[in-house]
């Protein structure tokens, strides 16, 4: 039997894992001392990526490694596989997540200052339970408040390789987003 190609081995392993595999994990597929060099593996991954063009699967580099995933354009069909709709997150959750993502490490108090409201404990719990944020340490200030940071899972989940791939923050002074659906009349003052 001929030995399978390196691309096929990588494809098989990534599909068998069903989650991102780091370069180290990919090298560990081979017996000790027989692992191809990183550059060789990178070359094979590039070849694999090219060969998947036009198929129902693509190679994506995310924070924790390489992942084979079904591209967005197939979502209309693929999402019919599940009856349940994907979770929608409230604006409060998304804003808090955004503040942590762009301003990490950040304390709860600082998040509240930016949003102008007290942070409900449910929001932080939701984000921690999803594994998107974690306590990264404690600030050396009165009360030693915890500082929060985003996790690798957060980047993986949002299809990002690093924080630098986050969309850039709106420049100040730009017209902001509107609520067209909320365009109700201003109530009369008593």
């Amino acid at each position: 039997m001929t030995q399978p190609s390196l691309e096929a081995i990588l494809e098989a392993a990534l599909l068998a894992a069903g989650e991102p595999l780091s370069m180290d994990q990919l090298r560990a597929l081979f017996p000790d001392g027989e692992a191809p060099a990183r550059a060789t593996l990178e070359g094979a991954l590039a070849k694999l990526e090219t060969s998947l063009g036009g198929r129902g699967v693509m190679l994506k580099r995310v924070a924790s490694g390489y992942r084979l995933q079904v591209p967005e354009e197939f979502a209309p069909w693929v999402s019919r596989l599940w009856e349940e709709k994907p979770t929608r997150y409230s604006r409060a959750v998304l804003e808090t997540l955004a503040i942590i993502a762009y301003r990490q490490p950040i304390t709860r108090g600082e998040i509240e200052e930016i949003r102008g409201v007290t942070l409900s404990s449910g929001i932080m719990r939701t984000l921690q339970e999803r594994g998107w944020i974690r306590v990264a340490g404690h600030r050396d200030a009165p009360g030693r408040p915890a500082v929060f940071a985003t996790t690798r899972d957060f980047l993986d989940h949002f299809n990002l390789r690093s924080l630098s791939e986050l969309p850039s923050l709106m420049t100040l002074g730009e017209p902001g987003p509107e609520h067209p659906e909320l365009d109700l009349e201003v109530p009369r003052q008593e």
């Binding site: 967005e72 955004a98 109530p187």
Partner: protein
């Protein structure tokens, strides 16, 4: 922008603008069901969000907020929330107080000779906070729009369940092996009077090898086993191994007649043959 302007006031009766046209009254035919109003008010994430909404929906310049007007509108919503008995977070009242303070400071005549201090627009801090909040409000929406696992992209997986049983066997290093052997010897000497001696391992190895060859070949001429190409040392080692094997009754040496070639066969093959007879 001149700082001591009275805030650019809209006519007090104007409650809304539609395409730039000021409206002084709610159209009579506009009926907002109380439920909808409640949902509407609950949509705000806090006072900053409500203020931003008021500014943006009227296309006002965030850098030059007409404080008096905005304060009036803001208070209108706060009163509505109270009337509807919505859970009114204390932050809304704090903001109301802040707006009132800014408003009063802007109405005060600027004291002469205090230019440096007064150069700071009382609205500056509010503007900074509004802008910062707006940035993250937009960033939250940007994050919402990112392709997300299980909604837009899906991890690809293929079945490989049959391959999931591998278990990495423990590794052992040589030092561990030696230590184990030393320990066992120590113990053996405590329990018995036998002298355990170190024997030449190369002979032991050759014994094992010879046994393996005999398992496959069954009969082998002594001449085949003693290979001159291994040199004198090799031949001696093999010969000693064969003698040890004979002594341990693991092999048998056979000779069909005096001076005929010597053959070696394993005791196992031999007894197997006897059993069959």
């Amino acid at each position: 922008m001149s700082r001591d302007d009275t805030p650019a006031l809209l006519e007090p009766e104007v409650i809304a603008r539609v395409q730039g046209e000021p409206y002084a009254e709610l159209p009579r035919d506009l009926y907002i069901p109380p439920d909808a109003l409640e949902v509407f008010l609950e949509t705000f994430e806090g006072p900053l969000d409500l203020l931003l909404y008021l500014i943006r929906r009227q296309n006002l310049d965030i850098l030059d907020i007409p404080i008096a007007e905005i304060t009036r509108q803001y208070m209108g919503y706060v009163e509505l929330m109270k009337d509807l008995r919505l859970e009114l977070a204390a932050e809304y009242l704090v903001m109301a107080a802040m707006l009132a303070e800014i408003k009063s400071r802007m109405l005060l005549p600027r004291p002469p000779m205090a230019d440096a201090e007064e150069a700071i627009d009382p609205r500056a801090e509010l503007v900074r906070r509004l802008q910062e909040y707006e940035q993250f409000k937009a960033a939250g929406q940007d994050i919402e729009a990112l392709p997300r696992v299980a909604r837009d992209v899906f991890p690809a997986a293929a079945a490989a369940s049959a391959m999931q049983s591998a278990e990495r066997p423990p590794a052992v290093d040589l030092a561990e092996l030696l230590a184990a052997f030393a320990e066992v010897l120590e113990r053996a000497e405590m329990f018995s009077h036998h002298q355990i001696r170190r024997e030449a391992l190369s002979v032991r190895e050759r014994m094992s090898e010879t046994l393996m060859v005999l398992q496959q070949e069954q009969f082998l001429g002594l001449a085949v086993l003693l290979r001159p190409e291994e040199g004198r040392a090799g031949v001696v080692v093999t010969f000693l191994a064969i003698l040890e094997l004979l002594k341990a009754a693991l092999v048998e040496l056979v000779q069909s007649e005096p001076f005929a070639p010597l053959y070696l066969r394993s005791a196992e093959v031999m007894s197997g043959a006897e059993e069959r007879q």
